[in-house]
């Protein structure tokens, strides 16, 4: 599903964020990526959604080689991969409903389809009553749930989450992780970047550890070890 072959990412002469990474994620897997600050986790996410280009090596999604993906194809890729971030990245001048709808409008979906899909998604993340609120009127956990709903609008085969619980307390963290698990159970491949020891340990799923841009361990049923 996601395949990196000998990928190196160098931002400039001083900073090599990733070095010779080999990583293959199978369809339906739940992979946690851990590592200290600056170890290259976010860079890995950015390569997967084509926000950055690999300096060398090959990145592919399914059988789509995106290593040198042309700029005009990037939007197509982004509509096939759901992404959530630590800082939610919601549009603060749009309501919750509009935020989720936006992700469908970008691909020219009909208004009728949007009106049936969005309420269902808000139902799944438990926020149907907040649809006319603005992001700043919601708690962090609620905002992240909106972001998850938005990430799911295109029924993506892959969901990438870069420290989605980094700004949340433990109760909200649990809630978000439960939602991610459920999404995974329905067949979506999930890549979760996290700092949270508890989350990783309770998951009992595959754990990939990065250190200074190198992949130093990859365990099928791993624990958080740093």
């Amino acid at each position: 599903m996601i395949n990196l072959e000998g990928v190196t990412k160098r931002y400039n002469k001083q900073s090599t964020a990733l070095e010779d990474i080999h990583l293959n994620v199978e369809p339906g897997e739940f992979v946690s990526i851990v590592g200290q600050s600056g170890s290259g986790k976010t860079t890995l996410v950015k390569l997967i959604i084509a926000e950055e280009r690999a300096t060398s090596g090959k990145v592919s999604i399914g059988d789509w080689d995106i290593t040198r993906i042309p700029y005009r194809h990037v939007p197509l890729l982004r509509r096939q991969i759901g992404v959530i971030f630590q800082d939610f990245k919601l549009l603060d001048k749009k309501t919750i409903y509009e935020n989720v709808a936006f992700a469908l409008q970008v691909s020219g979906e009909s208004g009728a389809r949007i009106r049936t899909v969005i309420p269902r998604l808000l139902e799944i993340v438990g926020l149907p009553h907040k649809k006319n609120s603005y992001p700043h009127e919601l708690s962090g956990g609620e905002q992240q749930r909106v972001a998850i709903a938005r990430a799911l609008v295109h029924r993506p085969k892959i969901l990438v989450a870069d420290e989605p619980t980094g700004n949340l307390d433990s109760i909200n963290t649990q809630e978000i992780i439960e939602i991610l698990k459920k999404i995974n159970e329905f067949g979506t491949t999930v890549v979760l970047v996290t700092h949270n020891r508890e989350v990783v340990n309770q998951m009992k799923r595959r754990v990939v550890t990065l250190d200074k841009g190198r992949l130093i361990s990859d365990v099928k049923e791993g624990k958080y070890r740093l």
């Binding site: 959604i49 926000e51 890729l77 982004r78 936006f102 020219g108 938005r150």
Partner: protein
């Protein structure tokens, strides 16, 4: 079609949800347009002023008392053959006398002495206007030939020569100055528009990156801004136009005193509405769109 409709909807949402920024943008555009239009009005007034001075200048050709009608007719057709000549007015001996009497009606001595003569002592006169003050010299020279020596006794041109030269000087100076000023205003206007749009786009930079991250194409992101540019431009040009009309209405009574013409500025604005409103709309629209493209380019990468 659907995406155009959405772009229009997003544009209006953007304008109303960032209302103070929208207001600021329109305000700055209006101020900029007002200063450009002030320049247009100043140019209009200077051209009116020089024109009205030019209109007052003419050459009077005084015919000898003895000149026959045939001779006068010949000179007249000769003068009319010049393409530079715009108007020829002929005053017969009797009309000249009439005018003379009118002019000196309160001077009894002159009137009395005129009555005493049984023959009209005055010759007929021709008042000639040319399109440009500079053309008078040519006309005078053409008339200063031996054949006309006995017919034409005097030409008043010499007295006004200096004034004409001075006006020509002033006109070219004013024109040169206004070219420089127009260029300067153009640069200032461009910088103001560019900066205003850049600020507006800069406040949206986070939005733009988020939109890209959820799969929006560059055009999907840009199109609402293009429509906003259109709306802002239309509103500012309209406001400026109505302010100009209003100001013209206030100024015109004073203008009428100077130029002896009613509603000069108002008429100028309404008869040049297409030129003023149309060209400014197009220029400002292109500038705002160009600026927004330039300002957005950086945020649209990646």
């Amino acid at each position: 079609m659907r995406s155009l409709f959405r772009a229009i909807k997003f544009a209006f949402q953007d304008i109303f949800r960032n209302f103070s920024l929208s207001l600021m943008t329109v305000l700055i555009l209006v101020l900029m347009l007002l200063s450009v239009n002030t320049l247009v009005v100043i140019k209009f007034f200077t051209s009116q002023a020089t024109q009205s001075i030019k209109d007052q200048i003419d050459v009077s050709i005084f015919f000898a008392h003895t000149a026959t009608d045939e001779e006068i007719a010949e000179v007249q057709s000769f003068i009319k053959s010049f393409p530079e000549v715009s108007n020829v007015q002929y005053l017969s001996k009797e009309q000249v006398l009439e005018k003379f009497k009118e002019q000196y009606s309160d001077n009894e001595n002159i009137i009395a002495s005129l009555e005493e003569l049984d023959e009209n002592p005055l010759g007929s006169t021709m008042i000639v206007k040319t399109r440009n003050p500079g053309d008078y010299n040519k006309l005078i020279e053409a008339l200063s030939v031996p054949e006309y020596e006995d017919i034409v006794v005097a030409k008043t041109f010499v007295d006004t020569e200096l004034a004409i030269e001075r006006i020509n000087n002033i006109t070219t100076q004013v024109e040169r100055f206004s070219v420089i000023l127009t260029g300067l205003f153009g640069v200032i206007a461009f910088l103001i528009i560019f900066n205003t749009i850049r600020v507006a786009i800069f406040t949206q930079r986070v939005e733009i990156t988020i939109k890209k991250l959820v799969g929006a194409t560059n055009w999907f992101i840009r199109s609402p801004y293009i429509i906003e540019s259109f709306i802002f431009t239309a509103i500012s040009v309209a406001i400026t136009y109505f302010l100009m009309r209003f100001a013209a209405g206030l100024i015109d009574p004073y203008v009428a005193v100077v130029f002896k013409k009613d509603w000069l500025l108002t008429n100028y604005i309404s008869s040049n509405i297409m030129m003023l409103v149309g060209s400014q709309f197009v220029v400002v629209l292109l500038l705002t769109i160009f600026s927004s493209f330039l300002a957005m380019r950086r945020h649209l990468k990646a």
